[in-house]
């Protein structure tokens, strides 16, 4: 039973209890006093899966690719760029930074897989890090309002309407994948512009100050049958997205063919971003 359906039944009960005698002036205090919803559905063209996962080909990443990917993601999701704010000190800008996907050093992404005398081809390449959309997400476990939750297809999402900004999820995430809106992400003088100068993309909402945000595996693009923005920005299959429950999905094929690692699997979180080497 979907959340909406439950909600509907609940409020239908309240409405019935309140009776039909309510005057119009008070009607708006009684939710759902006619029978609905008639039905809600996915778009016909939506991409669906049993278990979404991302596979990143480390051997193909270079400075240019990671910058393209980051730009594509951050533009599509209206991520502000505090590092570009004139007059904000470097320290304060870095503290306020918001990141959905970004390049990290190999030693930062895989602190436990750092061997001496490793090939520079591995250690010197940038690693794209992002939310791992874990099977057993600790952020979801600690959230006191279910503002961050896991969907049936594995996506770990944020409900920005519900988040109270307690930041427990940030403490719980072992990957540092979550950012907080320390300031309003929109430019105070021009609400059509984000902090840092990027124009707001009307295709996706901005956030408000005081809520946590992170990568959403492009739930909004999957819903209209498009690949995630980062994957779409890759020219050479540097990132592959697919349904892990389907043995013929490109993601599964890549995992079958190559040796893969994940970030901190020992945490028991079951991260679903795989890196092939």
């Amino acid at each position: 039973m979907s959340a909406t359906r439950r909600e509907f039944l609940k409020i239908a009960g309240i409405a019935a209890a309140a009776g039909a005698a309510a005057t119009p002036a008070f009607a708006s205090f009684i939710p759902g006093n006619i029978l609905w919803p008639r039905g809600e559905s996915k778009r016909d063209e939506a991409y669906t899966a049993k278990r979404w996962a991302m596979v990143i080909d480390l051997a193909k990443l270079d400075q240019k690719v990671v910058e393209t990917v980051r730009e594509a993601c951050h533009a599509a999701h209206n991520v502000p760029d505090f590092l570009k704010v004139a007059g904000m000190g470097a320290g304060e800008a870095k503290r306020s930074e918001i990141k959905w996907i970004w390049p990290a050093k190999y030693e930062s992404a895989f602190p436990n897989d750092m061997n001496e005398h490793m090939s520079a081809n591995v250690t010197q390449r940038p690693v794209l890090v992002m939310c791992n959309h874990c099977d057993n997400p600790s952020c979801v476990r600690v959230c006191p309002t279910k503002a961050t939750f896991q969907r049936a297809d594995g996506l770990v999402l944020m409900d920005y309407h519900r988040c109270i900004g307690c930041r427990f999820c940030m403490a719980a995430c072992p990957y540092g994948s979550r950012s907080f809106n320390w300031y309003d992400p929109r430019d105070a003088k021009d609400p059509k512009t984000l902090v840092g100068g990027r124009a707001v993309d009307p295709g996706f909402p901005t956030r408000t100050k005081g809520v946590v945000e992170k990568c959403n595996f492009c739930a909004e693009r999957l819903a209209r049958g498009e690949a995630p923005a980062c994957v779409a920005a890759c020219k050479n299959n540097e990132m592959v997205f697919g349904d892990l429950s389907d043995p013929e999905s490109p993601a599964r094929r890549l995992l079958r063919e190559r040796y893969s690692v994940r970030r901190k699997p020992e945490m028991g979180t079951g991260p679903q971003v795989y890196y092939v080497i």
């Binding site: 990141k99 990290a104 600690v142 109270i164 900004g165 307690c166 403490a171 320390w182 005081g210």
Partner: protein
């Protein structure tokens, strides 16, 4: 009984005036933070909890410590504490109140606070923390008030209040245990991921909380008619001694596990706190001096507490207690929360520097807590004064049970 709070000496009114000043300043600072965002604090993407949540952690301990007066009196019939349990209970009310305020000022979207109730999430420790803290505050307020009222009227404390008192004893342990679980259940934060966290929290709480209570009682001896017998205070000092030793012992257990196992993740925060960490040619060690001061002070207090003639000296003990409160505050109210975030999950280091609005808000919340405690104490002391000044008609047994020595 409420009228007792609006009659007082010049000193009393000056004290209230100062508190209102602190609260007002804090409120203005909060408006500033509310308008501009939490970016006006020193917190960051990496250090996502700062001085607010640190104070919550410290004050939960202070709140829980009231049980160190209640437990000996009600479970072990330690009569000497009868007169002062009310101080522990009202202190707990003020401390929990501050805890809740510190959570509130830390929220990014405080207007949505009631989402906690609208979408209750039993899987979240924060949800349970909110539950146990609110219940504990209610318990102590009701218990303290009822006991005082019965005392005033010369009645026997009703049975249901007795039941609440017995419930409040394990409840005090629960509030600090649940608060420790906020930290101790998070993967990837090695410094916090330790089974002894709750025990360590309780030990430090049972040292610091009674120490604060004892200092307040010493101040009340000077500033009011509330005169607790020195023998009673000596009993409390003994509890503080044991708790402080346990606290330092638990800390040393952590050090052993981290360094004998040699697992880097467990050691890094210790290095950051006590030696500083070098990272990409830069040395980070803001908290090193404070942590050493804290450690040295902790051992100093143990020495001063263990030696009987110092522990029982009216001159030395207050100094010892001030040192103890400072040492545990640095350890728990500063090092524990901030340190746990360093290094971050990507093994990088961001440091935390508290800002002016943050300090003002923190002082404001302490002001509110002090106001609550002041008003409640004023009422309690007022009632006691009234009882002492008029002939009493309660029986001798009742008299003894309430421990009136004067």
């Amino acid at each position: 009984m409420l009228d007792k709070a609006i009659k007082g000496s010049k000193l009393y009114w000056w004290w209230l005036f100062i508190l209102f000043g602190a609260i007002g300043t804090g409120f203005l600072a909060y408006l500033y933070q509310f308008t501009h965002g939490l970016g006006e604090t020193g917190m960051s993407r990496d250090i996502s909890w700062g001085i607010y949540i640190s104070q919550l952690t410290y004050l939960v301990g202070v709140a829980a410590s009231g049980v160190m007066l209640v437990l000996p009196y009600y479970l072990h019939n330690h009569k000497a504490f009868g007169k002062i349990t009310i101080l522990g209970e009202f202190m707990a009310v003020g401390a929990v109140f501050m805890c809740l305020m510190f959570v509130l000022v830390d929220l990014g979207q405080p207007m949505r606070m009631f989402n906690l109730v609208l979408h209750p999430s039993p899987n979240s420790v924060l949800f349970w923390d909110a539950v146990v803290l609110n219940v504990y505050m209610g318990l102590n307020l009701v218990i303290g008030w009822m006991v005082l009222q019965c005392e005033k009227k010369g009645d026997v404390v009703p049975k249901w209040v007795k039941v609440l008192i017995y419930i409040s004893i394990p409840w005090a342990f629960s509030i600090h245990t649940v608060t420790a679980f906020l930290y101790a259940g998070l993967p990837g934060r090695h410094f916090w991921l330790t089974a002894i966290m709750a025990a360590r929290f309780l030990a430090s709480a049972f040292a610091a909380g009674p120490a604060i209570l004892l200092l307040i009682m010493l101040a009340l001896r000077k500033a009011s008619s509330f005169h607790v017998a020195w023998d009673t205070l000596k009993g409390l000092a003994k509890i503080i001694t044991y708790a402080m030793i346990a606290n330092v012992f638990f800390f040393l257990l952590e050090v052993f596990t981290a360094f004998y196992s040699g697992i880097p993740g467990h050691q890094e925060t210790f290095y950051y706190l006590f030696t500083g960490l070098s990272h990409h040619g830069h040395w980070y060690g803001q908290l090193v001096p404070a942590m050493w001061v804290s450690l040295i002070l902790m051992f100093t207090t143990i020495v001063l507490l263990v030696v009987p003639q110092w522990r029982n000296s009216e001159k030395v003990l207050p100094v010892t207690l001030v040192i103890l409160v400072a040492a545990t505050w640095i350890d728990k109210g500063l090092g524990l929360v901030i340190g746990g975030f360093i290094p971050n999950p990507l093994n990088e280091i961001t440091e935390y520097a508290v800002t002016l609005p943050e300090i003002l808000i923190t002082i404001g919340v302490y002001g509110m807590g002090a106001l609550v405690v002041t008003l409640l104490y004023k009422i309690a002391i007022g009632v006691r004064e009234e009882l002492e000044n008029k002939p009493r008609i309660i029986g001798a047994a009742e008299h003894a049970a309430h421990g009136h020595a004067h």
